[in-house]
């Protein structure tokens, strides 16, 4: 092999960079961490089913924002006919009262930085 020193240093750097997640997880010891969400403090039903909310909640919130802010429309009717106030603070956070233990769990886990709270005030958690 020619220029063995340089080639091996190059290969080591290449392997170290590509295996970054592996040794990073070993270093942080959080490889098996899975976010667990706090149960809603009240209410037994969300505005839509869990599967839909898990994947598409941002679209629903976006739609609500547009309807409330642009059209002044404030009532959301769920498929089963229940009516909800279209409000993040008043409706969503009323049941899921602890943002840190609910919203932030998955958002931090997946590095999602929603701009909801650029405007919305995070309600204080009452004990």
């Amino acid at each position: 092999m020619y220029d063995a020193g340089k080639v091996i240093v190059g290969l080591v750097i290449f392997l170290a960079l590509l295996t970054f997640p592996t040794w990073y997880n070993v270093a942080t010891g959080k490889a098996t961490y899975v976010p667990e969400l706090e149960k809603a403090v009240k209410g037994d039903q969300c505005v839509a089913d869990t599967e839909y909310m898990r994947a598409e909640h941002m679209d629903l919130l976006n739609e609500w924002r547009d309807k409330v802010v642009r059209d002044g429309e404030r009532i959301h009717t769920a498929p089963d006919g229940t009516k909800y106030n279209m409000s993040l603070t008043m409706t969503c956070l009323d049941c899921h009262s602890n943002k840190a233990n609910f919203c932030d769990k998955c958002h931090d886990y997946l590095s999602v930085d929603p701009y909801c709270y650029d405007c919305h005030i995070i309600p204080e958690v009452t004990k």
Binding site: P21, V26, T32, V34, E56, Y109, D113
Partner: protein, 330 residues
């Protein structure tokens, strides 16, 4: 025709994973076993490929790269194109790796107004290539968030820059658009031009279509048919921590994405894609032209058996002395 072969190959692969992970429910194979096999093939394949290259002798530094070599003091050297020292070589390598300088010098030859041959600068390939490689790199690094917990500090910074335009929700990443445009350009470039189509092989179209499939499936998952990404990250961190868990209920689209990525990286060391490692090993880029300063001995020179004059004289001293010939040693 060759483009069609590649397209068929990609379609077959998509069908294979849809039937395999979907209909036949071999999710463990497509979610865990195949990705592992692909990662091993990729890492081992690249390392072996590089070691094989490193085994080729480099008898002489290539002096005929573009630009004037280091010569007499009154002849101006082109220090970046024909360097004679380490700093120059580092500069040339950096320009090649980060800015694709060789592609920047791409020219186009055309027959104009009858039999008049015209040469012109052609920067589209360079621009398309640069846009593609950088958006791929950004997307690749962004994906570390699915494998590393907690999310490393550089990922939110990259995401914020990439989603700077704040279009739509989830925020539109600029690189998603750029990679679609650039890969499509790189593909259609080969299809549209008769000359390029003539010398394009199936192996030229296949990786482009594969990357296009990966990008489209990723974009669909992010913006249109969302999958359970918490489960995706469980799988991702599990895989790279050698503790694979296969969570339930990740959409089929994710398996298409994962399988195509696995195919891409398994295919990587055996195809033109290995230029990722090759660019570091190209002798016209990484060897300083110091032939005039340092002696390079050809490593494959055979061991020549020499018979020096001293040995000759020792052998025939008596005969030479008798014949009255002059001797170095009496």
């Amino acid at each position: 025709m060759k483009a069609m072969t590649s397209l068929m190959a990609v379609i077959l692969l998509i069908l294979l994973v849809m039937l395999g992970a979907g209909a036949a429910n071999l999710k463990y194979f497509f979610g865990v076993i195949f990705p592992y096999a692909a990662i091993v093939l990729f890492l081992v394949g690249i390392v072996l490929r590089v070691l094989k290259w490193a085994g080729s002798p480099v008898p002489f530094r290539i002096p005929t790269t573009g630009g004037q070599q280091n010569s007499l003091p009154w002849i101006k050297q082109n220090k970046l194109d024909n360097p004679h020292n380490l700093i120059g070589v580092l500069g040339r390598m950096a320009l090649e790796i980060f800015l694709f300088r060789s592609l920047f010098r791409n020219t186009k030859t055309e027959l104009k107004n009858g039999p008049r041959l015209a040469y012109g600068s052609s920067k589209w390939l360079w621009l398309g290539g640069l846009a593609f490689h950088y958006s791929f790199l950004v997307i690749f690094i962004r994906h570390f968030k699915y494998f590393a917990e907690p999310v490393p500090f550089f990922i939110p910074i990259m995401q914020n820059l990439d989603g700077l335009l704040q279009i739509g929700l989830p925020l539109l990443y600029m690189t998603d658009i750029i990679i679609l445009l650039s890969v499509s350009y790189l593909f259609f470039r080969r299809v549209v031009s008769p000359q390029l189509r003539y010398f394009s092989l199936a192996a030229d179209y296949f990786p482009l279509l594969l990357i296009l499939t990966i990008s489209i499936s990723g974009i669909l998952m992010r913006y249109f048919y969302k999958v359970d990404i918490v489960a995706v990250k469980k799988l991702g961190t599990g895989l790279l921590s050698f503790n694979p868990i296969l969570p339930e209920g990740i959409g089929l689209l994710f398996y298409v994405h994962l399988f195509m990525v696995s195919v891409l990286i398994a295919y990587f060391p055996f195809s033109k894609l290995v230029h990722m490692a090759g660019v570091f090993m190209s002798p016209t880029r990484n060897l300083a032209n110091n032939n005039r300063m340092r002696r390079h001995i050809n490593p494959w020179n055979p061991d020549v058996k020499v018979h020096t004059y001293e040995e000759y004289e020792d052998e025939f001293r008596d005969v030479m002395k008798d014949a009255g010939m002059p001797l170095d040693k009496e």
